[in-house]
Symmetry: C2
Subunit: 529 residues, 2 copies
């Protein structure tokens, strides 16, 4: 179709071709989960054979779809412009989520708890359940509907591995498809272009490709490091891989009901804490650290603000927790607070302590931290620290503007002036993000019956905050919320409509809103200007 | 001091002089409350004599302070520039609030309920209590710490009248000092300048003065109309005036514990509903309606959006309320919903029904409406509809910008393009407003002990939402919040630190943040550029 250089006509074959490749990659990844089903075949044959069947069928679907798409898009040419890139990113996540739901659905994985009235048989995951779990995985959220992960009669190990693998794929996709292709939305645009590692200083095609490879390399390296460190601490290969995926993608799916608390090991907790924190540093800056030039990292305002928030929030949680007797002693307080604050701030969602039982200030602070996140150019979700930095500076300048309208100062970050358009984009992003969150909150309040909260010993007045935390935990990619969807609970009892809404929020939040929003703009697809 | 025309040096004598005038006006207004103490002197001598003494002393303080300030500022000359105007507006509210607290404090007004353990004597209002009540009055919030308004042994009638009079003065101050002097902050700036009634089209000094007189006239006219309508429905002059003040200033102080529900009259409720709604329409547009040229009003996008929100929210509250059995029948549902939605949307805070007992969607919607408010150029507080309109349009343009960076469309409102600076200001205002609200929420969570919520049958998990509603109800000038500070409760049991924080929020919200924020900027007071 379009060969015009200033292409305003959507290059559909190119998009189709790209989606075909994504589909094939998903299929290949699913195939890699098959080995995990084999060793346990003798012990629990039925369910693992189901898993094998489901994975094979899913691979077949993905491969057939991929080949079909490639065929449709054959002969695609022309460069990929911003519009196509946006469409590919937005549609890739939708496609991956849909394909990724197939193994959950086809394998007959049970979401019900074995102690619940559904007893041994459990309740099969529905289409919505499977989609929720898949979106949650790819978006690095880690919100789940599966109540008992540890019963091999309910959840096949191969499916459990696929569940964690979606984190890995989603995180890789964010670094390559999103960060490299779109330059990290409006956030990092200011510093990102400047920091982008590459052979030359011009923001050319090859430089972006180069950056994508480097980012993918760092991402794989971090995953490998965590896996090895966990193996060295006696964790099985299966668990080590799954938890590495959950850590580096800042996802949060565990293979245990008690999440990371299951290991009862301070060193494992500290390993995961460290790497959750590292995954939320700008990968471009990590690259310079690997090149033994850490100066750039230590001169970066966002990095220091992020570290400051982490340290400050942990101190507050330790202090308030000790005053309210949430922890047995100071050592425990530091151990659990540091892990939990890091887990929430980085939007991972792993747990070692039931933070829902903390004092209300601690709960409130964690809720707020959900909206912060890590640095731009990382696997972190949420609003990200750089936007807060720019907002704070814009506010300070605005206050001066009020009484000195004639004085115009540029906003500076790391000593460099930030373009006014970037500042505007950041503030619009803030407002949009919060507007969507509020709208989703009202919808969730309407979808969920008050009865969910007025059950055994419940209090319907908790609904408002719990629903707010549900929105916060999904749009920010955290996973667990407060109250009825808190650290020790999950989303299984939410209405299907609510779970679809929350799935949508996970995608929106993960892709920084606009790549999903444009898909709904008729003008976006229009052939003419 | 400064006689330079492009004055960057602060003209302190001019500010001092202006504050002196404000002080004298407050004194004069207090003196007007004295007659209400006299008729009941024979019945309850002690407390009313206390009130008379307190008012006389307060008048003396205000007059002395005013004369002192006038003396200090004598010989002030030069025009008032934006900087001075900001300082006068910000400091006037602080001064008025401080002076306004004196009658509460000096009269020994009791905040305790006569049924409470403090029994007949009650608990005297402290300095913080008095300040809270005074700020709440001047800012048109209507949040109170007085538990029993109806016991003449606890609260003198003259003080009760002064309490409502602060609403009247605050509302008048907003229309004259704030709207006319500052052109309604960033909000209405776009449409306001265009709509400003005045003899000429140039935005000159005389035009602003003209507008101030017109606005004051409409404001007084609305107060008189409501007073007469209430008198005609059998309300006493005292109650009619107090409720008119509460309605038109969108304040919400009543003279009864049950607020407007006390009258048990549909017609009184409808009168107040109508005038709460009218007070939140842009006064510049009301002026054209009075001139029998309502065309401008009916062509105004903000007015229609405001009306739409009012109608839509009422419908939703009626619908969800009926489904959940919150109301006995449809008539009651419409009656109470319309009143309550109007009261909350307009940030008045009057009550006829305990909305805290409604279903959770209804509660959540009211919480959201607190952040909406009425139109710019009205007595409404909160963020205001026009900012939402501009935000929605900016978001829609931004979505297009994402895939079409080269196409720049101007944002249009009522067919006129809005300057990019105004759009930026509006979005910064949004972000600032929410950032301050979140910060205040975290502070409030830290100030208030969890024990407040874990008392008799309480649930500490309600704290997060109740505190959020406390912030929302004060920064938006509503008054009652949810839960422990809900429609049937008050702020008496909050910590003094919390009440000071909330008082500060009321002032911030009422003056659209920046006139208060600049007072804390050292550069603002600096003599040099």
């Amino acid at each position: 179709m379009s060969k015009c250089p200033t292409c305003f006509v959507m290059n559909f074959p190119l998009i189709t071709k790209s989606l075909g490749i994504v589909s094939l990659l998903i299929g290949a990844s699913m195939a890699l989960c098959l080995p995990w089903a084999l060793p346990v075949c003798s012990g629990t044959p039925t369910i693992e054979w189901n898993a094998i069947g489901a994975l094979v069928a899913s691979v077949a679907i993905a491969v057939l779809l991929g080949m079909g798409l490639l065929r449709l898009g054959r002969g695609a040419d022309g460069r990929m412009f911003r519009k196509e890139a946006l469409a590919v990113v937005g549609l890739s996540w939708c496609l991956a989520s849909a394909l990724g739901a197939a193994p959950f659905l086809l394998s007959g994985t049970r979401k019900g708890h074995s102690e619940s009235p559904e007893a041994t048989a459990g309740v099969r995951m529905s289409v919505v359940d499977s989609l929720f779990e898949s979106v949650s995985g790819f978006s690095g959220t880690g919100a789940t509907v599966i109540t008992d992960l540890e019963d091999p009669q309910l959840v096949p190990r191969a499916i459990l591995f696929w569940r964690s693998a979606t984190h890995f794929l989603g995180g890789l996709g964010i670094m390559v498809l999103f960060v490299a292709l779109l330059g990290q939305g409006s956030a990092g645009k200011a510093i990102f272009r400047a920091e982008l590692p590459g052979p030359s200083k011009d923001v050319g095609h090859s430089r972006v490709q180069h950056a994508a490879w480097i980012f993918a390399g760092i991402y794989l390296g971090l995953n490998a490091t965590v896996t090895i460190l966990l193996l060295a601490q006696g964790v099985s290969l299966f668990d080590a891989l799954c938890h590495a995926f959950g850590t580096i993608a800042t996802g949060g799916f565990s293979t245990y009901n008690d999440s990371v608390a299951h290991f009862h090991s301070v060193s494992i907790e500290m390993t995961i804490t460290l790497f959750m924190a590292v995954s939320c540093v700008n990968f471009a800056l990590l690259y310079y650290v690997i090149l033994l030039r850490p100066g750039r990292l230590f001169r970066d305002a966002e990095f220091w603000t992020y570290t400051g928030i982490l340290a400050g929030a942990t101190t507050l949680v330790v202090g308030f927790g000790l005053v309210h007797g949430d922890f047995a002693n100071t050592t425990e307080a530091v151990r659990y607070s540091l892990f939990q604050v890091t887990s929430i701030l980085t939007n991972t969602g792993f747990g070692t302590h039931d933070f829902d039982a903390w004092n209300e200030f601690g709960r409130g602070l964690l809720f707020f931290l959900m909206f912060v996140g890590g640095c731009a150019g990382s696997t972190s979700c949420s609003i990200k620290v750089i936007r807060y930095l720019i907002l704070a500076k814009a506010l300070s300048l605005q206050t001066e503007q009020v009484y000195r309208p004639s004085v115009i100062r540029p906003l500076r970050l790391n000593g460099e002036p930030v373009e006014p358009e970037v500042v505007r984009d950041v503030i619009v992003y803030f407002a949009t993000f919060l507007a969507i969150a509020v709208g989703a909150w009202l919808l969730l309040l309407a979808f969920e019956p008050d009865a969910t909260w007025s059950g055994i010993g419940g209090n319907p007045h908790e609904k408002l905050m719990d629903c707010a935390s549900g929105v916060a935990a999904t749009i920010n990619g955290v996973g667990p919320g407060l109250g009825t969807i808190g650290a020790t609970r999950n989303y299984a009892h939410f209405q299907p409509a609510s779970r679809l809404l929350l799935s949508f929020l996970m995608l929106l939040g993960r892709l920084e809103i606009f790549p999903i929003l444009v898909l709904f703009a008729p003008r976006f697809w229009g052939a003419k200007q």
